[in-house]
Structure formats: structure tokens, C-alpha cells
Symmetry: C2
Subunit: 370 residues, 2 copies
């Protein structure tokens, strides 16, 4: 037993029948073989990481995974949403084949959501599917993309157009990795944390209002609690609806508006979480127009999003028509109807595909710009 | 109801829990909307076919799928195993995105195994998975690759290295498409038919010995019976072991030897079925050396393979060492052990990873060449 295995950590499980898997959360887990080695399929391990994360954590993770004759290799990819392409995933496959790795190998994603999405997709399709472990190092990937099994890449014609549902064997969240995360990216991750409160847990909204300053100051206990609560809500929703036929769509609160902002402004100029922050406020404002939220509830949402360091306005360069034309292409639409996730009340979301078009037009025109 | 729906056909189901799907077998099914339309997910349909098959059957299938306002399009790909690449699958994805197809579209594979494998992989990963229907037009794809959900493409470093398990919603087998199939490809398909007898059904071996001439003369009833019996055996094995953890590996009888021949000779010079034909005889001969088959049983296997028009010798240019070096790379090996599917008796196969290396060397050296 290593020293680090005596560290405190917490655990929850994602319940997916035969593919039940644990999420471990705590400080220092990256260095703990006991958190990682039990989830490897065999002796062949490929760490997939990025140029930013590799200098910080690659050698430590490699050290934790090595031993017992294991063949641990790495592939280091460039950073950024624009690298989330099929060509990057092909580089992972080429590396696996060049290493002679067989169907009992394991891919370990070390990095943010882009790395996790690409490594997961590579694992899903290498020899028709191999083992996969997530070690997410950004708050966004810890509370969102590392849970739920969505993997994939972008295509010039759209985000996440190619991919697979592929579950990890384990998610290992070392909260200390957040100490090296830029403040702007911490805020982007908080957008998704706030989302879980808005869609499912009004008590969590109140907890976040009280603890937001502690979270932004990287208080260890606050972070562990927020990550665990977020993962628990997401895990519950995913377990009920693995392939997004119904309830899972609620996780897209703010995302249809947010994707429109990201797409119009160019991916990477607005961070995903920033666009979701503004998008959630747009969803709340539309919910108010439908008579589902009170004005002071929308102000409460706005204050929480602002307190997290996120934008509460849309880009000045984006017209209502810009929003509409991009939103109509969203792959969450079924046939011709525009489906939106809205708030039926604080802490409760719904899917709505019958918003009057003049009401939506007015919201998109009137929503504050900056 | 159309005239063609009054035609006789037979049906069996592949039992995969929520993904149970039917296989329809009979003459003229290609023209019958009732065989096809109930399995479409929505209004958007993309037929994936090849340059050889398109002039023969594309317009007829399009006609059967059209109507009710459906948007039916096609993508026609070049023929041949060497086109089974990620680049070809990217062409399918580009066509789907250019058409604006959403996650409720359906891909329909019209052609042989290469088309089915690529269209299935494209369906598995387009927007993380869309509906898929198989209309196989070669005997090989009708009895083998269209059943079981294996999809994928080759990589310069190996066959079928990238792919997914993805089940069709239905398999529609029109036996009349075999009238346009070259005799050599019919024989290649018969290799897999014989395989089902050898691994699981000694009575089917006797039936094939009696009906082989009728099958090669395209006797309609004989073809329907042979296809149904083959699909039933494969469906039963696949249902018990969808992701190839155990019993499903028995379907690889002759394939480890056969892949070595294909790989050494260049894919396409030996047809897959031809290589499997010779490979099954090599497996039978090795089973005899292990004391599991009598010499006259091996002669019976040899006569049946020869009667199907398949080779019963290995390539003269291939040494025993050539076989060994390629077989050791086979992805069916787990860690370092060479796993072979052999015959414990006629009509019963087993997985064996403890063949004495001098016995295997002798078989590979002594097996007849031509």
C-alpha cells in the first residue's frame, strides 16, 4: 500500500447494469495506484494527454500506473477544441497499432474534455472497443464530460457529429489538479455545476449561493462536495437514460443557446462553459416569458451565474436571426421542431418544443448584449 | 399492399434483448416496401452501395424505399476490400452532413460485406449512432457479415482494426441477387456455409454434401434453406455472446489460417472465403494431429470444400514461417498465446491455445501447397 492510499477520498457509482463503474474524488488520487490499477484490462496501457497537461501530471500518472511488468506508453496531442478532430483520433489509433496493442489494452485519458472525448472515441472503436479510464484534470470535465459515456469529435459541419457512447471503467478525479487550472476555466466548469442545481436540485442552488466564493478560492472540501453532488446528479440521469432518448436531454439546459454562441463566435473564443452560462440565463428568461419563473427567480439565476465569474449577456455581434439559424441545425432537434430545455421552476427542467416563435424571437432580440 | 408482398419468404429473429431484429430471406424482397419501410427510423434515408451493385439494384431499392415524403439519397463507393478504409467511411459521414441528416436518419447498406461493414460503422458513429438496415447482395454477406453486428474498416497495419459492434434493425436477404453474383464469389460464400456445419451441426454437413450441386446451380429452395440455417446458427451464437468474449470466437474456424493467407498474398488476390476454405481444412488437419478427428473425417471435409469450388491447398509461395509470423499478430490472441479454433469432432468446435509448437510447425510445413 502506498502512502497516498491512506488519503481521504470519496466515491460514488454510476449504475449501468453490467457496466457499473466508480467515480473516485479526492486530493492526490493521481498518484495512487490503488485508484487506477484495478481498472486496467491487461498489461498494455496508453495514456492520452495534451501538451499543456503532460508537463504537469504525465510522469506522476505514469509512475502510478507502472510496475508488475506493465507496458505504459503515452501519446501527447495538441490542445484546444479545434484539435478535436477525426485526424487526432487517427493519431491515437496509429500509436496503438504501432505499439502492437491488442484488444486487452487500456486507454487512460489525462486532461480536459477534449482529451477525454477523443480518447474515449478512440477506445470505443479500437478493435471494436477496448477498456477506458478517465483522469479528468479540469472542473468542466470532472463534473460533465467524464461522466456519462459520450465520446466523439467535431466535423467541419458541426460539433460532436461523430462519436459513440462508450463508458469508462472508472473515473479518477484528483481535486488538486484544479490548482493549476486558469481561473477562467474554473468559472467555465462552475457553469455546469450550477446547471445541476437548476435542473434538479433547488437545495444545491442555495448551497452554491453560500459556497461560491469558497469554490472560486479552491477550498478543498467545497470542491469535493460540489464535484460529488454534480456527478451524482449526472450519474442518476445517465443511468436512467444512457443513450439520450428522454430525460438525459435535460442536461442540455443552456446548451442550444450556448452552442449557437460558440458556433457564431468561433469555438474557443467563448469557452464552452461561458456560452452555457449565458445560455442558461437565456433559458431562464424564456421560461419567465412562458410564465414558469418569477422575475426575482431569474434575477437569482443571473446573480449566481455572475458570482461564478460567467457572462450574463450575449455577444453584441450576434443578432436574433443569427441565433435562430444556428439553433435550427442543432442535432437535438427531431425532424423540424426546435426542442429547448427550459425551467418549469427553479430546480426542475423540462423539454419544450412548442415555444411560440414570436416569443422566442422577442427573447433573442431583447436579451442583453455586450 | 404491393404485389411483391404476396411472395413467399421466411424469417428468423436474432435475439438481443432490446435490440432483437429480424432476418427476412426470400426471392424478390428487394422490391417489397413491407420488408423495408417498417425498419426506418424517420424520413431521412441514405443508401450506401458500390459501383458494381448500384447499376443492378439501386433504382429498385430506391423505388421500394420512396413514398410518404421520404428523403431517400445514395452514396456510391468504389468496390473492393482495399476501399474498406476510414477515408471511405468519412465520405459517408460527409454525405450525411451535407444532406443535413439528423440522428433519426437510417443508413441502408446495399451490397457485399465491405459495403455492410463500412455503412454499419458509419451508422454506429454518426451522431453517436443511427438506425441501420442491411440488404446484403452476396452469399458471403448474407450468411456472415450481415448477422452479428460487427462493423469496421481496415488499417494499413491490420484488417478490421477499427470498428464497432452495431446491430441492424433488420436484414433483408433477396436470394435473387445471387443470380448476378460471379461463380467464384458464390463459392467463397459457401465456405462460410460449410463452416456452420463444421462448428455446430453435423446434420447440416450431410445436407450440404447432398445439396452442394443444387446450391452451385442457384436452386432457389436450396439457397433459402442454406442461408436460413446458416443465419440461425450464427444468430444463436451471437445472441449468446454479442461482444465476442467466448463462444462467438468459434465462428473464426479457419480464419486465423485464412487471414494469414489473405495478408501474405495481398487482400483481394485470394477471396476471403477461399482463404477460409483452405484455412478450415488446415484446422481440420491440425485437429487430426491432435487425435480429435479421424483421417476419413478430414477427407470428408476436404471433399466438401473442393465440391464447393474452393481451394484445398495453401499458396506455394508461403512458408510455414510466413504463416506463423502473421498468425502471431492476429487480434484474437490474448497477450502472447496463439489461440486457434479447432474441431473437437465433426460438427463441434473448440478454442485451443495449447497446441504444441512442433505440431503446429509440422502442420504448417507439411500442408499441401499449390
Amino acid at each position: 500500500m502506498t502512502a497516498s492510499s491512506a488519503l481521504p477520498y470519496q466515491r460514488l457509482h454510476v449504475e449501468l447494469d453490467a457496466r457499473r463503474y466508480p467515480i473516485h474524488v479526492g486530493p492526490g488520487l493521481l498518484d495512487d495506484p490503488d485508484m487506477l490499477v484495478p481498472y486496467l484490462a491487461g498489461q498494455q496501457v496508453m495514456i492520452v494527454t495534451s501538451e499543456t497537461v503532460a508537463p504537469l501530471y504525465l510522469e506522476r500518472l505514469k509512475h502510478a500506473l507502472s510496475g508488475d511488468g506493465r507496458d505504459v506508453r503515452e501519446i501527447v496531442l495538441p490542445d484546444g477544441e479545434h484539435t478535436k478532430t477525426l485526424a487526432s483520433v487517427e493519431r491515437i489509433w496509429d500509436a496503438l497499432l504501432a505499439a502492437g496493442f491488442n484488444r486487452r489494452c487500456t486507454l487512460v485519458a489525462l486532461g480536459g474534455g477534449v482529451i477525454g472525448d477523443m480518447a474515449g472515441f478512440a477506445a470505443a472503436c479500437y478493435q471494436r472497443g477496448v477498456a477506458f479510464v478517465q483522469v479528468p484534470t479540469t472542473l468542466l470535465s470532472q463534473v460533465d464530460s467524464s461522466v456519462g459515456g459520450k465520446t466523439g469529435v467535431n466535423h467541419p459541419r458541426g460539433k460532436n457529429m461523430l462519436g459513440a457512447f462508450w463508458q469508462p471503467r472508472a473515473v479518477v478525479i484528483d481535486t488538486r489538479t484544479l490548482t493549476t487550472l486558469p481561473a477562467r476555466e474554473l468559472s467555465a466548469g462552475l457553469a455546469e455545476v450550477i446547471k445541476y442545481g437548476l435542473i434538479q436540485d433547488v437545495d444545491f442552488i442555495a448551497w452554491l449561493e453560500a459556497r461560491m466564493s469558497a469554490l472560486r478560492a479552491l477550498d478543498a472540501d467545497a470542491l469535493t462536495d460540489a464535484i460529488l453532488r454534480s456527478c451524482a446528479i449526472k450519474a442518476e440521469i445517465v443511468a436512467a437514460d444512457e443513450t439520450e432518448q428522454g430525460q438525459r436531454a435535460l442536461l442540455n439546459l443552456g446548451h442550444t443557446f450556448g452552442h449557437a454562441i460558440e458556433s457564431h463566435q468561433g469555438y474557443g473564443n467563448w469557452l464552452h462553459g461561458e456560452a452555457v452560462g449565458a445560455g442558461m440565463l437565456m433559458a431562464a428568461a424564456l421560461s419567465q416569458r412562458l410564465g414558469w419563473l418569477e422575475p426575482d427567480e431569474v434575477l437569482r439565476v443571473e446573480a449566481l451565474i455572475a458570482h461564478a465569474g460567467l457572462p450574463v449577456t450575449a455577444p453584441a455581434s450576434m443578432s436574433g436571426d443569427d441565433f435562430l439559424s444556428i439553433m435550427r441545425l442543432d442535432k437535438k432537434n427531431i425532424d423540424a421542431r426546435l426542442r429547448l430545455v427550459l425551467l418549469s421552476r427553479l430546480g426542475d427542467a423540462c423539454i419544450h418544443d412548442a415555444t411560440p416563435s414570436d416569443m422566442l424571437d422577442a427573447l433573442l432580440t431583447d436579451f442583453p448584449r455586450r
